[in-house]
Amino acid sequence: MSRQLVVIFSPLLAIGMALIYFVLSAEQAEAVKDAPWDYMPAQRAHVPHASFLTGPFERPQDVTKRCLDCHPEASREVMKTSHWTWIAEEVEGLDGKPLGIGKRNLINNFCLGAQPNLEMCTSCHAGYGYDSNDFDFSDELAVDCLVCHDSTETYRKKGGGWPKDDVDLVAVAKSVAAPGRNNCGACHFEGGGGNAVKHGDMDGTLHHPMPRNDIHMGRHDFRCQDCHRTERHEVAGVLTTTSESADAHVRCTDCHAMDPHHNDRLNTHASAVACQSCHIPKVALDYPTKMAWDWSTAGQDLPEDAHHYLKAKGSFEYIQELIPEYTWHNGRVDRLLPGEPIDPEAVTVINRLEGSIADATARIVPVKVHRGKQPYDKTFKYLIVPKTVGEGGYWTEFDWNQAFELGADATGQPFSGEYGFAETLMYWPLHHMVAPKEHALQCTDCHADRGRLNWKELGYPGDPALYGGRKRADLLADDIEAKP
């Protein structure tokens, strides 16, 4: 009987095993190269805090004090971050000594600089009372927990970083939760003084985005910290406009494979092209972003329009549906330091993106290029920051000399009394507004006649689809050096 069972079941077993083999081999063949969800950080379960934060709270610092009762390290952690210090990193200064640089002391070509204008700029500081250089950066109770953890979407800040007068501190405190896009967006979507003004790839549409606005946030409801992974309140990421380092960049490959495409030819692009170049075909999709700001025309009694001319600020250019420009970037930045001499006859690049076609670590990245015309000291040949807001500021007095003198008092950079306006340029690498893959760039967007990449300017002899990439064209410095 057992022999008969063997005879009967052996073929069945063989057929079953063959079926399993075919199924498994088919699955292996279709194995997914790219498995980003495997790398997504788990989100902690929310603990309702309403019962712990019942108030009343006289001052916002009282809320912080209550938070510290249970999270005693929180303030000290925040105080180590650039959200608090407004110093991104330490570099070698012009005098050869270490110099901390960051939003606190660097010049840009939008509102020019924060130092003389703290009473307004610090409405985006993660603390209370930073309205002068005398601010106590060691005061743990001055840390603003609510700006990142409010979930009522009613918490708004004013000058000095204080909550606006109509904020219900108890309601806001009861709502605290892990940060959402609204918390980060309150400052980062409004950079440059208004929605979409500064970044181009971040604006108010990302509060409640559609997939076309950003595939991660719009289709998968990502929160900022899903990519900007945060440990002990230290948020990962580098702002290439205020730092020089390449160390802490958030990368697509934190989750995605280096060769995520089914098409090998697309995967080979990864050695020279950043993911963003193809997957962010356009930014400023629904709101225009500022592309140029000419301070030299300020102060005239011309017709005013927020997108073209304001007497206090000068003339602007805005663009909606911005097609990026493209340049090489290896992650590092050569940042113009405070007091660094410029050539006023040339265009000064405030944050030069390092890298070239010869640099194997560099990739072609999409950037928004913001062009400015801003004040400089004719004698000392450096860019200067006026005081624009508040008492004596240019926006009320329209007196450049007074504004520059007040600015010099705040920055410590002397003002000679003679000023002019020089052309400047800032690069804003684009990382957000990642389009659904169906809307990524196609071959013809770059490789056809009149494609969006200028191969000659990028250093190629011609279209690499025909001439070969930089490795085949022998353009990589390492390869050249490696030759006998």
């Binding site: 063949a29 690049v349 340029l425 196609q442 494609g451 200028n454």
Partner: protein, 681 residues
């Protein structure tokens, strides 16, 4: 700093700011900008032309700036290229004239050639009068065409009529070499002005057609119907400056000027009805890199149509990538039929210089199911499998070899056409523009209406045997029926002129009796839906009018032409990959037929043409609304589709196996029982 603004752009910005400061008139500013644009070579322009400057010569070899006569391409281009050779051998110039009156077996009785010169295409409705076979048994092409006054040959008026009606698709040379030289500019100039060329031809200025093609370069201008050269567009030495006029390999746009909609720019794809784009009109094929949603067409579900119109166009290929010159040393390869077995690659090729001197313009081609021109070149082009290694892809597909034996790549990678295509051309009636009534598939409503919703259509899969492969494969097709009147002795199609006399009075209005008969709703006007002979009474009325005009035995015939579809391929994500699409009883892809006529004029059932290489076995089904569909024989046909087909002998074999197994088991069990009862030893 790395400059991201081109010098050109910076120059413009500089001028703009200076003009702003000086508050000059905006018109002046625009003029300066326009001049800068015209004078500057775009920095992003990347295609390279090594072509030297050209001296444009007339037939006498004199520079056209001096003579003012039309450009002779044979003389001008012949300075370097063997233009006599080019004009002599290519089927683009010949258009079938070489095989005139030597039509292949199975051809239509109205065919006198295999190309558009001589072949009767009912969509275009142009044909040559039949010659008297007895009188001209020994005549040659030269006798009948090049000497058109030969009695019984093609009359000069007929040639003129052909040129007038079909000349837009003729590049020059061939049967009309003395009227129109081969128009090199039409295919090789990146800004060829086809509209100007057609304008010249419409005026009968055939000798100026090639010259007019240069209009977009500014070298020649149309002044009150006369073509005048613009000396400013020439260099001081009277040659044409090729910094602005680029001579290149033909682009897809070049080919598209005659063959179908091919867009190689970035502008939105725009479709319009008419035989101006014949392949698009007949099949819905569009060759463009743009994504489907990037169009002005009112496509259904447009937002989600994120694939390009053609994946190859999107991947930077153009028409000549596959349809190349056979002796182009870059692409040339020897046919598998003639290649020595021991060679995988033959290094003996023309040098670039030799090729440029004698470029073979007999472009390689595939196996069309609707054309018989240059059949000797069938299969000479690169097909999908010449570039793609399908076995290394399709990891998801079980039994790949079996699938690839039965299916063409197009069968899965052209699952749906997204542009409308013709379903029916009805020449039994004439619309007010003296044209046929045309019914399209894939569109709701009048395709001329920009608001008509374009839904596209699913091609029907028909078996075709291509190349020397042993088994036929399934290819996607559109089936197009045409209906027209024939009569006379010998029978031939009734001309549009006669039809017009039958339908219209001297004022150009429909004859009153016809109008009343056709005007179903009695509103006094004839809509497209009313312009159809859908009753005996209406048919008899037109028949009587034709007879009155001298047409003997007028009657309606209908034919169905399958058009194979090869362009507009979808990439992997959009190809058919659902097993159930074919392998189940209700599998639509293999079972679905195709509507071939919305109505049957005169109740005539159309028949398939007899010179197609497609397997047209199947059945016709008439629906309640009067439409006719064709359903290919598949369920019991030669091709066995697992899960769908039902071959009786397979069923019988299965039944026998079942019964046999049952009997075997029962017999075995019976024997065991018997054995046990008998005592077991």
């Amino acid at each position: 700093m790395k400059a991201h603004t081109s010098p050109f752009l910076e120059t413009i910005l500089g001028v703009v700011s200076r003009f702003r400061a000086q508050r000059l008139e905006i018109v002046q500013l625009l003029l300066v900008l326009a001049a800068l644009l015209l004078l500057s070579t775009p920095a992003w322009s990347q295609s390279v032309s090594f072509h030297p400057d050209i001296d444009l010569l007339d037939k006498e070899g004199q520079n056209v700036l001096d003579s003012g006569r039309p450009v002779s391409t044979v003389r001008s281009c012949g300075e370097c290229h063997d233009t006599e050779f080019i004009a002599r051998h290519s089927f683009h110039a010949d258009l079938g004239a070489r095989s005139f009156d030597r039509v292949p077996a199975g051809a239509s009785p109205y065919d006198r050639g295999s190309g558009i010169f001589g072949r009767f295409d009912p969509n275009l409705y142009v044909w040559f009068e039949p010659k008297d076979p007895a009188a001209h048994a020994d005549t040659t092409f030269d006798d009948t065409v090049l000497r058109p006054k030969t009695p019984g040959g093609v009359d000069a008026d007929e040639l003129e009529r052909w040129l007038d009606q079909l000349g837009r698709w003729h590049v020059g040379g061939g049967p009309f070499a003395d009227r129109m030289e081969p128009n090199c500019f039409l295919c090789h100039l990146d800004v060829s002005d086809n509209d100007a060329r057609l304008r010249a031809m419409e005026r009968g200025q055939y000798e100026w057609a090639a010259t007019a093609t240069l209009a977009s370069t500014g070298a020649v201008v149309d002044r009150n119907g006369q073509w005048r050269y613009n000396a400013k567009a020439f260099d001081p030495d009277k040659s044409i400056n090729l910094e602005r006029v680029r001579i290149l390999d033909p682009s897809s746009r070049s080919c598209g000027q005659c063959h179908g909609l091919a867009v190689d720019g970035s502008e939105p794809v725009e479709w319009s009805v008419g035989m101006k784009n014949p392949r698009t009109e007949l099949t819905g094929e569009i060759f463009a890199a743009q994504k489907l949603y990037h169009t002005r067409m009112n496509l259904a579900g447009k937002r989600d149509l994120t694939r390009p119109w053609d994946v190859h166009a999107e991947r930077l290929l153009d028409c000549s990538s596959c349809h190349h010159s056979p002796n182009n040393p870059i692409f040339a390869r020897e046919s598998a039929n003639t290649k020595p077995d021991h060679l995988a690659f033959d290094a003996l090729k023309l040098s670039i210089g030799e090729y440029l001197r004698h470029p073979n313009h007999q472009l390689v081609k595939g196996h069309s199911s609707a054309q018989n021109l240059a059949n000797g070149l069938d299969g000479s082009m690169r097909r999908c499998e010449d570039c793609h290694d399908a076995m290394n892809e399709h990891a998801w597909l079980p039994r790949k070899e079996r699938h690839f034996r039965a299916l063409s790549c197009e069968a899965c990678h052209l699952p749906e056409m997204h542009a409308p295509a013709r379903m029916q051309t009805d020449w039994t009636v004439l619309n007010q523009a003296r044209g046929p009534v045309v019914v399209y598939r894939g569109v709701d409503g009048d395709p001329n209406d920009p608001l008509a919703l374009i839904k596209g259509y699913r091609p029907v899969l028909l078996e075709r045997r291509i190349s020397d492969e042993q088994r036929p494969k399934l290819f996607p097709h559109n089936l197009l029926s045409t209906f027209y009147w024939v009569g006379g002795e010998p029978q031939q199609p009734v001309s549009v002129e006669l039809l017009a006399q039958a339908y219209f009075d001297e004022s150009g209005a429909y004859h009153e009796d016809l109008r009343k008969a056709l005007d179903s709703n009695g509103d006094g006007a004839l809509s497209a839906e009313e312009l159809r002979l859908d009753s005996d009474a209406k048919t008899q009325l037109v028949s009587a009018r034709l007879q009155a005009l001298g047409v003997k035995d007028p009657h309606i015939v209908g034919e169905i032409q399958p058009y194979s579809i090869h362009h507009g391929a979808a990439g992997r994500g959009w190809a058919t990959r659902d097993c159930a699409a074919c392998h189940q009883q209700e599998a639509q892809v293999v079972s679905e037929g195709m509507r071939v006529a919305a109505y049957l004029p005169g109740g005539v059932q159309p028949a398939f043409v007899t010179d197609s290489n497609a397997d047209l076995r199947g059945s016709f089904q008439r629906a309640d609304d009067g439409s006719l569909s064709f359903v290919p024989e598949r369920r019991s046909g030669e091709l066995y589709v697992f899960g769908f087909s039902a071959w009786p002998w397979v069923d019988l074999f299965g039944l026998l196996m079942l019964v046999g197994s049952f009997l075997g088991i029962m017999g075995h069990a019976g024997l065991r029982v018997y054995h046990a009862r008998m005592g077991g030893s």
